[in-house]
Amino acid sequence: MTEIIVVTSGKGGVGKTTTSASVACGLARRGKRVAVIDFDIGLRNLDLIMGCERRVVYDFVNVIQGDCTLKQALIKDKRLENLHLLAASQTRDKDALTADGVKRVLDELIAEGFDYILCDSPAGIEKGAHLAMYYADRAVVVVNPEVSSVRDSDRILGLLASKTQRAEQGNGGVKEHLLLTRYNPKRVASGEMMSVEDVKDILGLDVIGVVPESPDVLAASNSGVPVIFNDESDASLAYDDAVGRLLGEDKPLRFLEEPKRGFFARMFGG
């Protein structure tokens, strides 16, 4: 059984690609066969985050248009042999992606026996975002604890509930999860940032992961090694927990509070 998971958010810059890369690696590290597809046509970036930008020969649109086979376009990860990437095209033609073409590629990946297909959605609610979510079984909605991101996530939840194949066929719809990124426990404690509970309350969804704000995320994208591989980073551990929860493991959320400080420091703030 193949499961198609869309990583989406509405708003840009909240961490969709970072999340796609780390979740894909996390699933593959647990022995799953994973294909991750970059749906951001014209703005290819997942290859860069995964560190295989120089190995892109053919892309998603090439496969759809029949310029090459799917096998030729799939890039095998150097670190995990059961992880494959299908890069976005750099074409400016917005119509290059078609519902039919996307379905053909997904069907072929399913026939190949992949356990998970991750669809890294572009920002916005245009065609690319629509097609990234259309065939999904599950959705990971990436959200920052910030007003515009939360509002856009709610908009995306509305689309997941109406503009997807599962919604149209009425067979239970897409299973939705929230994943908070850029979470800063210190600012939450001082009332400057909404908490996990606040975001959960507003959107009415379960949280599958909370990734703390961390300098390791930028370092990871700088080097092209997804942050989940940095075992010393809280962000890595948080992503790995989220992968476990995706697979049905019951793990309590971590990193929701800043490390404890001394009595005087707490009494007098700062």
């Binding site: 709610d154 109406s162 001082s190 909404m194 309350d201 007098f268």
Partner: protein, 85 residues
Amino acid sequence: MGLLALFRRTPSSASVAKERLRIIVAQERSARGSPDYLPLLRREILQVIHKYVNVDPEAVQINLGQDEGHEVLELSVALPEKTRA
């Protein structure tokens, strides 16, 4: 947050954010299921009413709701105190 924060009167910016989001999200969700023609329908109904009664555009409320499995189109018009024919 230290002891001093207990004396602060103003609500935290996070709670302001939460309250604002709660309202806008509820409002957008209620509009979500409604058909695309609703705004136009509202405008045209308003025009017809306007031919007979001088009503305030805000006085015409149209809602599409669910009632025991039926869809109910609810139209409410508040007429001004003195109507002109």
